[in-house]
């Protein structure tokens, strides 16, 4: 089952004219949970967004889930789920509205129904009718995670996922990551919170100056 899900070689990516990625090499196999850690501005967020085909890659090779990201961005995106800093939800719509839009838009075939996902994230009851604009950051983050679940993607790109979640929220997120990795989904996780994220990861890479600098196998409990 050692299919390479993400293959990046000497990838250069620009934000405006700033070379956020300056020659990244990374290979991730199916089912792995790779933790990308590093200081602010190292390029972690850009790396994740580059894998999702959201940021133009100006140089190097990038193949995600068998698709060449540079030539065929749209087919990469169908199988990828990104949890970014911003929730990406519509503030004026209620929680249920937002998730119903995601479900209908991604036409998740046989995807978990909206209600089921809401319950798994503890958003079932009164919360589902509340406008996202009125939620706290933590609750908003949970709704974003719910949207992620609805997409049933093969590759999860989580950018600082634990940020803003309370203890219970983090617990639920960790369970979800373990379950989905066990089910074969590949996870690329960018985080500062080493002690929180490390137990989840099967491999840790360090990033700085827009490049992958060091590699360390976490060799830790959890996912093989």
């Amino acid at each position: 089952m050692d299919r390479v899900v993400v293959h990046l070689h000497a990838v250069v990516s620009l934000l405006g004219r700033f070379p956020a990625l300056a020659g990244v090499d990374l290979d991730v196999a199916a089912g792995e949970v790779v933790l990308v850690q590093g200081p602010n501005g190292a390029g972690k967020t850009t790396l994740l967004r580059a894998c999702a085909g959201l940021v133009p890659i100006v140089d190097g090779e990038a193949v995600v889930l068998g698709h060449d990201v540079r030539r065929d961005r749209r087919s990469v995106r169908r199988h990828v789920a990104l949890l970014g800093h911003a929730s990406g939800l519509y503030e004026d719509l209620t929680v249920a509205d937002n998730l119903r839009f995601v479900a209908r838009a991604t036409r998740a075939p046989g995807g978990a129904s909206v209600q089921d996902t809401l319950d798994r994230l503890g958003l079932g009851g009164r919360l589902s009718g509340v406008q996202v604009g009125r939620l706290s950051a933590g609750q908003r983050r949970r709704v974003a995670v719910a949207a992620l679940l609805l997409r049933r993607a093969d590759l999860w790109l989580l950018d600082e996922p634990h940020a803003g979640l309370d203890a219970e929220g983090r617990e639920r997120l960790d369970d979800l990551v373990r379950q989905t990795a066990a089910a074969g989904t590949t996870v690329l996780l960018a985080s500062h919170e080493l002690e929180r994220a490390r137990p989840l990861a099967s491999r840790v890479v360090a990033m700085a100056g827009g490049q992958i600098r060091a590699e360390a196998s976490a060799g830790v409990v959890g996912v093989a």
Binding site: V12, L14, L15, G16, R17, F18, P19, A22, G23, P39, G41, P56, V58, A208, G209, G210, Q211, R213
Partner: protein, 244 residues
């Protein structure tokens, strides 16, 4: 020989042609029976309007070439921008000479004459396009957006032209400024040749301007890219300087 001497020859030719035009237009050709000498403004107004359309045509064509994956290249985006900028300069001058001519004929600085109105709309349309070009953003994304904007403006031109023409010809017959009436061969021989010379001279000038404006764009692009290699090198060095 596509080096510097080539454009210098073109430059001197253009200037020479313009000089001869000025003499022919201001001195040699006879005054018009009812407009008297005001008609001499036509010898630059009509060529300016003609070259304006040529310039915007090149912008549209270059934008199409940029959008077609097979022919996509930075140079088309740069050419589209250069030609559009020159086009706007010529549009401004067309409006200026048209307005001066309006003053001599109807005593008002601005007449809602079909051609002048269309030209004024063109002026604003492409000013918007140039404003969009100046916004920042990563070069490839910006180039594709510029090309789409150029086409969005260009497909509007026939509609603008048609709607303004219908609007203005509801009341009076077609515009006096029309070059068909002015370039009609049976008019006095020297007038016709001067008009042709006018268009030739301004086309030469346009070619000269376009070549140099295009090179300026190429150069600016290269200076911008050159900065990029340096930025990537600095980026990589970030770690060495202990950016912990």
């Amino acid at each position: 020989m596509r080096s510097e001497t080539g454009t210098r020859v073109l430059g001197t030719l253009a200037v020479a042609a313009l000089a001869v035009l000025a003499v022919m237009a201001l001195v040699v050709t006879p005054p018009d029976v009812n407009q008297q000498d005001a008609v001499r403004l036509f010898y630059i107004h009509v060529p300016l309007a003609t070259v304006m359309y040529v310039a915007f045509g090149i912008t549209a064509l270059a934008s199409v070439l940029y959008l077609l994956p097979r022919t996509r290249a930075r140079k088309w985006d740069l050419l589209a921008g250069a030609s559009a900028e020159i086009g706007v300069v010529f549009t401004g001058l067309t409006l200026l000479t048209g307005s001066i001519w309006g003053r001599t004929t109807w005593g008002v600085w601005w007449t809602w004459d079909a051609r002048l109105t269309t030209t004024a709309l063109l002026f604003v349309l492409f000013l918007g396009y140039l404003a969009l070009r100046r916004t920042t953003g990563d070069t490839d994304a910006r180039a594709k957006r510029n090309a789409i904007a150029a086409l969005a403006v260009s497909i509007d031109l026939p509609i603008v032209h048609k709607s303004v023409e219908w609007w203005r010809t509801l009341h009076q017959k077609s515009s006096l400024l029309d070059e068909e009436t002015f370039l009609h061969p049976h008019i006095h021989g020297s007038m016709y040749w001067t008009a042709m010379l006018g268009i030739g001279a301004f086309v030469l000038l346009f070619a000269w301007l376009l070549i140099h404006r295009y090179r300026l764009a190429l150069l600016a692009d290269r200076v911008e890219d050159q900065g990029l290699e340096r930025a990537i090198a600095e980026r990589r060095a970030e770690v060495l300087t202990g950016a912990r």
